[in-house]
């Protein structure tokens, strides 16, 4: 009996605190744990008794990397509970700020967290010594996304301008126009990024996933749509909890999500790309095709190329929105509280983020449920490792460990998010 174990105590280049443990016995993987030890923060619990208008600012604090996702899912949930729908330019501005978050978050992950794995560097600063121009371009690309978030949202991290019903202050056309040249540059830089990442050496690894993402009638999804999968799921977001379940496991402070009766599923760029390729903008489609991406795309390591394609899309979409922008008369629509339940589901950079709130007639939150993308991917990440490891047991410990880390980083896991949601136990 030959046993071997691969252990990463503190996984680097991800957001938050987690580790990996893999046990192998006679060339068979006997145990895989993506171990989350980030301490829990109990957001669902202390949201109880707060006003519905506070949810966007409070839930933003779940994650410093994707606060817009939390703000968007929570405001849509509150508006759905109160029977309000926000349309026109206000709706477009919400897509615009989301474009900013996708650009900055994707640029961060592509260049600073993931590319060093493909190119054999410990981090982006080491990488900068040999690839100075690419890193400078990356920083500028990321900065463009941050500038867009800061302009519409007030600041990059925990923006202050998003509210239930709309915004506190509207950007002027002139302010938005000032970003056009930079966004055009960013779009071209993102196309370069697709080209660059497509040349990376990809491990030969594919799996049959059930991909789940939002699908909208005529847009690549941000804030609205139905939840669909490549295996026949097609539900309104309010049906989420009837179709998905969460499991609490001893080694993790995050819950594992599963599709009822079917098990693990895959959310994020790869899922969106496979399910919504036809909704991508022209330049993004062209860049994807030129990079040789074909459907179905089942190699999770290629998610880095898909993130680059989505960055192209986000730049193009931002440019389109700015071009069509006309400043509305009022920055928000009035939302009066109503007793009831509201659902919100939006596409965070790493996959869809589900919120559900029950409000009383005064607008106080009676209970809350938040399911972030990382917990939904957790089981899939573990299953990937189970298949990834056995054919690679001839690698040195150092090399295999690094490749396992890289396989987890395919999902851009956000562990800070993953620990804070959790199951609402109705007993």
């Amino acid at each position: 009996m030959k046993s071997r174990s691969i252990k990463v105590d503190y996984l680097a280049r991800v957001e938050g605190e987690g580790g990996i443990q893999i046990k192998v016995q006679d060339k068979v993987v006997t145990d895989v744990r993506f171990d989350i030890f980030e301490p829990p923060r109990f957001f669902e619990a202390f949201l109880r008794g707060r006003m519905f208008t506070e949810a966007p600012d409070i839930t933003a604090r779940i994650c410093g990397i994707c606060p817009i996702a939390y703000q968007m899912s929570s405001i849509h949930a509150m508006e759905s509970a109160c029977g309000v729908s926000v349309t026109g330019q206000l709706r477009a501005l919400r897509r615009l700020i989301y474009c900013g978050e996708w650009i900055e978050s994707h640029a961060l992950h592509i260049y600073m967290l993931h590319a060093p794995d493909f190119l054999g560097y410990q981090d982006v600063l080491q990488m900068a010594k040999d690839h100075g121009d690419a890193v400078k371009q990356a920083l500028k690309l990321k900065k463009t996304g941050n500038e867009l978030v800061a302009l519409v949202g007030g600041r990059e991290i925990h923006p202050i301008n998003v509210r239930v019903g709309g915004f506190y202050r509207l950007p002027t056309k002139q302010e938005l126009n000032a970003l056009v040249d930079r966004l055009k540059w960013a779009r071209d830089a993102a196309v370069d990024t697709v080209r660059l990442t497509a040349t990376f050496p990809f491990p030969d690894f594919e799996r049959e996933y059930e991909y789940v993402s939002l699908r909208h009638d005529n847009e690549y999804p941000f804030n609205e749509g139905r939840l669909i999968s490549n295996k026949g799921l097609n539900i309104p977001i309010s049906e989420y909890e009837n179709n998905f379940a969460e499991e609490h496991v001893s080694y993790s402070n995050a819950l594992h999500s599963v599709l009822k009766g079917r098990g693990a599923y895959h959310v994020g760029p790869l899922a969106r790309f496979n399910l919504n390729f036809d909704r991508l903008s022209p330049v993004a489609k062209e860049a994807a095709t030129a990079a040789g991406l074909t459907l179905p795309l089942n190699n999770p390591f290629k998610s880095i190329v898909v993130r680059s394609v989505e960055t192209v899309f986000a730049c193009e979409e931002a440019l389109r929105i700015i071009q069509e922008y006309e400043m509305p008369e009022k920055p928000f629509v009035d939302v009066h509280p109503k007793a009831g339940v509201g659902y919100g589901c939006t596409e965070a950079p790493r996959g869809f983020l589900y919120h559900r709130y029950r409000l009383n007639e005064k607008g106080l939150i009676m209970d809350a449920k938040i399911i972030p993308p990382t917990s939904q991917n957790q089981k899939t990440m573990e299953l990937d490792l189970r298949e990834f490891v056995p054919p690679r047991l001839n690698l040195t410990q150092e090399k295999l460990t690094w490749q396992c880390e890289q396989a987890i980083r395919n999902y851009d896991p956000c562990i800070s998010c993953a620990t804070h949601f959790v199951r609402l136990d109705i007993r």
């Binding site: 109990f42 669902e44 202050i160």
Partner: protein, 259 residues
């Protein structure tokens, strides 16, 4: 001439959202220059490389919420010449300190199906409750400008110049019309420390206290003023009890409206 050793910087995470340490990566224009002058010796969010301590400067993000972290912060302190806390979690316990006002056992069962798997302390506490802190950088999130100032100050052996006065001064400097005078939305500006450049008032909303209490804040007087304009106890409680809820003056003020 012998090349001088670059000072070693370490970044540590406790209970937090990662936003404050992300601020360092968000310094897109300064990052490469920073890396030329200091050795980033421990920064797991950005690098697999871990260089052993001791460290010349440690930035600590997050609050203490587990028995393990209450131990770990002492190791961090021992390996750091200078320890600076970054953000509202590290300086005041953060939003997760809302648990401090409730029974945490009730919280775990609301959130997790099997609460026995969860190890957590009753209270979320700031770093300074556990070890000596050389300097505290406020904010939820911190300001990038202040972060670069702190790095540059400590690496040059001087004190950082970050103001302890209120948001009001920044508002005046920006020329924003005062919401208190014009009966705009409730604003914590007069009792909140500056650092955000009075962001919210310039976006037509009241300050909600991201940078925590300023030096010598008169919170009862401000609360009385808003009460006079018709604000309810619950609203006042929520206003003072958010991202810096466990900072002493905000905590006392929120408790005063808990009836």
């Amino acid at each position: 001439m012998k090349k001088e050793r670059k000072p070693k910087l370490a970044i540590w995470k406790f209970s937090s959202c990662d936003g404050c340490q992300l601020s360092l990566l968000d310094c897109e224009d300064e990052l490469l220059a920073v890396a030329e002058n200091i050795e980033i010796a421990n920064f797991p969010e950005a690098s697999r490389l871990v260089v052993k301590g001791p460290y010349d400067l440690s930035l600590v993000e997050g609050s203490i919420t587990t028995p393990h972290d209450a131990e770990r912060i002492h190791q961090v302190r021992r390996s750091s010449k200078v320890l600076v806390t970054i953000g509202a979690c590290a300086t005041a316990g953060g939003i997760q300190a809302l648990r401090n006002f409730k029974d945490v056992r009730e919280f775990t069962s609301i959130v997790y199906a099997t609460p026995s798997y969860i190890e957590t302390l009753n209270k979320s506490t700031p770093i300074t409750d556990h070890v000596f802190v050389d300097f505290e950088l406020r904010g939820c999130p911190i300001s990038k400008v202040q972060l670069v100032e702190v790095l540059s100050a400590f690496l040059n052996g001087r004190k950082p110049t970050t103001p302890t006065y209120s948001v009001c001064l920044e508002c005046k400097r920006r020329g924003t019309v005062c919401g208190l005078v014009t009966h705009g939305p409730p604003c914590l500006g007069p009792v909140t420390q500056a650092g955000c450049d009075a962001l919210c008032p310039s976006y037509h909303r009241g300050c909600f206290g991201c940078f925590g209490p300023k030096e010598t804040p008169n919170t009862p007087s401000l609360a009385e003023y808003w009460k006079g304009l018709g604000m309810k106890n619950l609203e006042l409680l929520h206003l003072f009890r958010s991202y810096n809820a466990y900072a002493e003056s905000f905590r006392k003020e929120s408790e005063a409206h808990e009836k």
